[in-house]
Subunit: 623 residues, 2 copies
């Protein structure tokens, strides 16, 4: 196969490629992570590159004509997923196309649960072998665990057998034994090294949250998050699933590999920050939506790609960390929390165990909006769940100037009634590059409150406002003028963006309303927002848009990353794992698309605000 | 470090070595397997090589002066373990120093036990997912295993999860499930592929026996043996243990690696011979002496190197075959049988479960002579065991012209009374190269019967016999004249060889007698010989030497490879594994060296035959 050389600017990196390779693929191979919401399907228009010499690549496609502006086309911009290299060439990757690390963290919290970790450290003082006592090393260790601690160990991880004989003699038969579930010896440690830690991982489609917890006192010693490195294969669940379907097991391995590498780099960073060794991490609990769960466990997720969208594996699962390549204690296990149904995954189960066991009465509505919206309604005895195809609009994707909640994203927007004066807040207090989910919700809500859009979502064009303008067959409202932005281009909300927000919020509202009605226990006592979405959006803005049914604004409480909290609880208290299994079995999944009322509720919910009487606080908020 | 080049003849192989490397080590690195009974300690004298240019190597050592004949020294022979290279040189490796593959197989047998294998194949027809039935794939498979077969599966091997989602759909939800212990799913197979096999391995110090068994009908479909490739690190347990002690975990890994490689090559050979795939081997049972067991499981065996010689791990152990690198079904387990105590290992447990459950009355004496002699005395209710340091003499090692039971070994010897005419039988019916264990026992027994050695074991030199001669400070009896041998040299039994046999048989006799006395149930009803030793020696010769206490010749029965048979039984019937654990716990190990009577019994037993009244059949045999 003939090879060509592609020079990538501004890096000056020279990459070998085969004739016919797509530019997106060759950039991935060179580890240059270009944003691609659609995973290379040619529909999101985010993977823009500039080609220095147009003759060296394949001709312009219809998708590019649709997705690039005339100005961009004139300047030589192309979509890297639609462009194949034909000759040696030079490509410029603009900063706006690059994937950047998230800078807003998933929330912090305090974990309140009794300390009953799976893995414990037992100090033993063992009688040495003699001619009168010929028991094997392991037998005498088992016997002392039984007589002193009353635990009956029957398993031993084989990896401990290589170093143990020498170790226990050098330590003069006094040492600590790591035991899991009072049943399996994971290894041995010196008596003065008894620190053991657990790792909780919440694998979101966009962000991965991680917590290192001290298993002896329950404190979080280190936490952090990274952008899920799988985003280079597509921003949302559907694009990544598509990538795996197109590429089979090889595709699965690729997505698994970047995930594990990303997790390992974060494990190393957080361990270093807490001043511990990764080998002191003796237990791991993982949650995530069903696709993330499957990819993490190397499960081919094809059953999630077509109706009726069942998971391959839904039960809780225990596997040695080394089988997954995770850089923690070599003999440690990873426990994945159970999955409910379809895309309502282990992350939702983690949310439930963090919240419901403590709640009495009810019902409660819990809304966790990541890239998908997952809703649970009920109380600790009876629960319904559903997944809403909110799409990634609320995370900033599919929005014209949308971006993730990164450095340079507009995260808050205010519009003055009458004057239409705009003020905004940018993450990192730098010049803005785009607008993220919480900013979009604010913007649309403020546009409605200030009368610039009608209840149907259309721009009211007869208003005298210079920010409202017609452009390239659409109408848009300028949030930030080019002179104030990092790109020099205006940042605006278009009619199409408003439609995206309408679709997302209507899906969420309809789903939540159907669950409340089906439960039949009346208006929810509280609406809990889980996840970083709930932490960062302005609840008032969301309320004005009509996102949550049957509630006063005072009923809405943001609870932070409940999935992470639930995972930490399952680390510190193994009973929580049994509880998770019970909740996963107890909750009844409602396939919204299959319900009779969904279409009607969804259509009803598209307008702003669609049903005034269900929003008692709306009038005063609109003032 | 400066390198030199060593040319190895007759191969013409050129090997790079560092100045100061021993010739034995450089030959090992070049994969030329030279016999070394002592593992390089300079005591066995078997690793002879001829040096073409004497100045290129280190000076002659005292050990070499002791162990090589004057003739050999004159011709430039050296011991490769005592010789370090100093300059570029040329080395000739004589055929007699090379390790060759065993050609006599460990015995064959028929396995009689109820068919209750650990791993079974269940055919299922699964209801497909629908909007009304959203159970996950695995859940529905578990449910059908429960409803149709009444088994409750709770574990799934993670490796099956990658291919299963696609596989079960392609097979239209009709397939076979491999389930272990009615508890863990190991994988899936098409409905028309339901063949499953088990593998039994008996790892002897010298020979490895292997059996592939059809788990559906209990037939042995393929069996064979190889020389344990660890022999290049030393012929006996002590030499190999010494190698590991000197080289630490690296040494352990080396010995483990050659073992696993050897096992894998035999697995491939036997699978091909039976026309099955190695991936159809779904279960493995392994036995071996304690050191072989430890090395196989990568357990540092240092506890076996010093008193009180306890194993590190004695309980039965289950580990995934892939963790050990064994080339069978990737998700299969390896089960190692339990160890009794010290060097009385899992092989002896296999012998017990193959024999004792079927025996009534008793007591019985079971003698398994490999490189060590393991003795069990008792009945199924009460058992004593011991290990005798017979040393490798009975396997042909430490004998002047000794060799293993390979092509060219004299395996039977007859001496005519009066004329002292010798006849012999050679393995493979070729010209002899040496004499193996059964031949040595015959030779010494015949020398005694024909009056050429006295009861004390000394040659009776006044006999007129040209074969009996004084040579180099010793006396020897020529079995084969140089004109009739493959090497052109005479093959003889020396006074020293007779002493070695005396030490070995006295250790065995004394051990067996002490066990019979301690049991206190009188004379054994039967003496069972286990292992290839029992299969190939002449029972009459062994009887004349006085190997077995308190028995008539008719009481002695050779049972073949009982360790292999016991392992196969544990494959076909998982109840046998529980039985093995019971036997390992029930048997009381007697540390012979620590008993008061051992020294006296051992000294008494050195002569031929030492106590006529305990050998009722002796007089007529000596005629």
């Amino acid at each position: 196969m003939k090879k060509v050389t592609v020079t990538v600017l501004p890096y000056g990196k020279r990459v070998k490629a085969r004739i016919g390779d797509s530019v997106l693929d060759l950039l991935r191979k060179a580890n240059i992570e270009v944003t691609s919401y659609c995973g290379g399907a040619g529909t999101c228009g985010k993977c823009k590159v500039k080609i220095v010499n147009g003759e060296s690549i394949s001709p312009l496609t219809q998708e590019e004509k649709n997705l690039l502006t005339e100005e961009e086309l004139k300047s030589g911009y192309r979509l890297s997923c639609r462009t194949k290299v034909l000759k040696n060439t030079t490509i410029y990757v603009p900063g706006e196309s690059l994937v950047e690390e998230e800078i807003r963290e998933k929330g912090r919290f305090e974990i309140k649960t009794p300390l009953m970790p799976s893995v414990k450290c037992f100090r033993v003082s063992v009688v040495q072998p003699s001619l009168e006592d010929l028991r094997s090393d392991i037998e005498r260790i088992k016997d002392i665990l039984k007589s002193v601690y009353g635990i009956h160990v029957s398993l031993i991880d084989p990896l401990s057998l290589t170093y143990a004989p020498d170790f226990i003699r050098k330590k003069n038969w006094n040492f600590n034994v790591l035991v899991r579930n009072e049943n399996e010896i994971l290894g041995f440690k010196p008596v003065d090294e008894d620190k053991i830690y657990g790792l909780a991982i919440d694998i979101g489609t966009t962000t991965i949250g991680m917590y290192i917890v001290d298993l002896k006192n329950g404190n979080v010693v280190s936490s952090g998050s990274i952008l899920n490195p799988q985003v280079k294969f597509g921003e949302d669940v559907i694009s990544r699933l598509g990538y795996i379907l197109r590429n089979g097991e090889r595709g699965l391995r690729e997505l698994n590999k970047v995930l594990i590498e990303g997790l390992n780099s974060l494990i190393e960073k957080l361990s270093a920050r807490a001043n511990i060794s990764t080998q002191d991490i003796v237990d791991v609990v993982v949650c995530g939506n069903t696709l993330m769960h499957h990819i993490f466990l190397n499960i081919n997720p094809l059953s999630l790609a077509s109706s009726p969208f069942v998971p391959h594996l839904s039960s809780p699962f225990d596997v040695k960390a080394r089988e997954l390549g995770l850089n923690v204690l070599r003999t440690a296990y990873v426990h994945t929390l159970p999955i409910e149904a379809g895309f309502v995954g282990a992350d939702n189960v983690a949310v439930m165990i963090s919240l419901f066991p403590k709640l009495s009465g009810g019902p409660y509505l819990v809304i966790d909006i990541g890239t998908n919206g997952e809703i649970v309604c009920g109380n600790k005895d009876r629960l319904l769940s559903a997944s809403c195809a909110t799409g990634p609009a609320l995370e900033g994707a599919t929005i014209t100037h949308g971006m993730r909640a990164q450095l340079g994203a507009i995260e808050k927007v205010w519009i003055e009634k009458g004057s239409y004066k705009v003020s905004y807040k940018v993450i990192g207090n730098v010049k803005p590059r785009g607008i993220c989910g919480s900013g979009i919700i604010d913007a649309v809500s403020e546009l409605f409150r200030s009368g610039l859009i009608s209840p149907s979502g259309r721009f009211v064009q007869d208003k005298r406002c210079e920010r409202l303008r017609r452009r390239e067959n659409t109408v848009e409202f300028v949030i930030a003028w080019g002179k104030d932005t990092a790109t020099g281009k205006d940042i605006a909300i278009t009619q199409k963006d408003i439609r995206s927000v309408q679709l997302a919020k209507a899906a969420l509202y309809a789903g939540a309303k159907i669950l409340v009605n089906r439960l039949g226990k009346g208006k929810p006592k509280r609406v809990y927002l889980a996840g970083s979405f709930g932490n960062y959006i302005d609840i008032k803005s969301a309320y004005i848009l009509g996102m949550f049914p049957y509630c006063s604004i005072g009923d809405i409480v943001a609870k932070g990353n409940l999935a992470g909290l639930g995972s930490c609880m399952a680390l510190l208290n193994r009973k929580k794992r049994e509880e998770a299994e019970k909740y996963a079995k107890r909750v009844r999944y409602v396939e919204l698309a299959a319900t009779e009322e969904f279409d009607k509720e969804f259509l009803d919910a598209l307008s702003f605000p669609h049903a005034r009487d269900s929003f008692p606080d709306l009038e005063k908020l609109l003032l």
